[in-house]
């Protein structure tokens, strides 16, 4: 297999999208993930421990170590240190400007995971961290949701009927769940994430070796009027050991909404480095190969919203070229009826 194809597999993690050699990575895939450890390891843990107090955190770690009598197997935990302890005086002030330090402290979250393939003696261990440095502002939709929630809370306060309280609380929940992901989604946001993983054989700590590192940086700026969104991405993946090769993805995406139309353009560059070094012991000779590939993706799209969640879109541009003479034309027309995008015409390789 050619080095560039090997890298294509490694860079995109364990996702099936790259299994056929040509990476089908979208701009969104390069954004800082909410769980960098799991993304780097290419796993989706069935259950994730999320301790809410220092005591729960310690108990979870002890329990995991006890059950495995060594390195825990198939264990996943995420925790945000700031929120392990109570903050009874920290009020909800969505419009208050918050310093980068305070934002970082409040959003800093760590994740830890171990994975052991069935029938395998290898255990993969990963550690990750993510945080926001700038959290963004409150968009109009979030303000409207907050107003609705405040109105319902007012009605809860004014009733003495427990059943009515329960009914009104039931109305609050979907609004709260809709609010959470968009609360600070406008203005300037800056997300960072990093993760590293290593491999242990036969549950032996001494066999551990670093195998992979990932770093993500995602700045973005969204303006409400006119609706303009500018995002940047920087993703670095470094592989070692059996998985040689490293890659840097960097790029930007601009989108502009005008009534039912959305214009978008993205330019993403990729540099892949594959180095193999062999030494025959000091002071023996060192041999190796070094391959550097540069490629980029440049694509524009136009989407027309038909209503009721459906849309039709046209995309045209150039895709990454990982192999010389590889077809790289992107030209597609897709129809989205709200159940996912269906290509009508596609030359998208």
């Amino acid at each position: 297999m050619k080095p560039s194809l090997v890298l294509a597999l490694l860079v995109a993690g364990a996702g099936p999208a790259v299994a056929q050699g040509t990476p089908a990575i979208k701009f969104e895939d390069l954004r800082a993930p909410s769980s960098p450890t799991f993304v780097l390891m290419g796993i989706e843990p069935k259950s994730i421990e999320r301790p809410k107090t220092p005591r729960a955190f310690v108990l979870s770690a002890i329990q995991a170590a006890r059950e495995s009598s060594g390195i825990p197997r198939n264990y996943a935990m995420e925790f945000a240190p700031f929120w392990l302890v109570p903050h009874p005086k920290l009020q909800f002030r969505p419009d208050q400007k918050q310093s980068a330090g305070a934002t970082l402290l409040q959003t800093l979250a760590f994740s830890v995971a171990t994975a052991t393939d069935s029938g395998s003696a290898h255990t993969t261990v990963g550690f990750g961290v993510r945080a926001l440095v700038a959290r963004g502002g409150v968009p109009q939709l979030a303000r409207e949701l907050l107003d609705s929630m405040r109105t319902i809370q007012k009605r809860i306060l004014e009733t003495d009927d427990t059943a009515e309280e329960d009914r009104l609380v039931g109305l609050l929940k979907p609004l709260a769940l809709q609010l959470q992901p968009i609360l600070y989604s406008t203005g300037f946001r800056f997300e960072v994430a990093a993760a590293a993983m290593g491999r242990f054989d036969d549950g032996e700590y001494s066999t551990g070796q670093f195998s992979r590192l990932g770093v993500w940086v995602t700045p973005s700026y969204e303006v409400a009027h006119p609706k303009l969104d500018v995002s940047g991405v920087l993703r670095l993946i470094v592989n070692r050991g059996n998985r040689s090769g490293s890659a840097i993805d960097y790029g930007t995406r601009v989108s502009y909404d005008f009534e039912s139309l959305t214009f978008a353009y993205e330019l993403v560059g990729r540099a892949t480095i594959d180095a193999t070094i062999t030494t025959s012991g000091p002071p023996g000779p060192t041999t190796g190969t070094f391959t550097l590939n540069n490629t980029y993706r440049s694509a524009g799209s136009l989407e027309y919203k038909l209503g009721a969640g459906s849309s039709v879109s046209f995309t045209f541009g150039r895709n990454f070229t990982e192999v010389p003479d590889e077809e790289n034309l992107i030209a597609s027309v897709s129809l989205n009826l709200g159940f996912g995008s269906v290509p009508l015409v596609s030359l998208n390789k």
């Binding site: 005086k89 009020q91 306060l157 039931g170 959470q180």
Partner: protein
Amino acid sequence: MTNPKRPPLFSTSYQVAKDDVLLTVVIGEQQLGSSIVWLDDNVLKEGDVDKLKVGKGSALVGHRVTIKTVVTDTNDMTDRTSTTIILEGGTAPAEHTLSVDVDENGDSAIYRSKVEFTS
């Protein structure tokens, strides 16, 4: 549907002095909440309660303030909710924090508190 968490009624007393008694209700953990305050059977304030003038200390003896607070878990970093009642203007300031964890994101808690004023 998840019913709200309802911590038991919190009752306390507050020794007044000559000055005005001020009441603050803080909703912590960066959660969305609101309160209503009654002096005996009359609504004093609804919404944010920040240094609310309840009345002259001497005039409050034998009366009581009732507070109802609803907090909704809008903070995706924690399921903890809390409310802190702060009383000032009496013989000494007093502060009481009540806290409960809701089961999951979007759930709510309803707190009820009662403060009797004494001389």
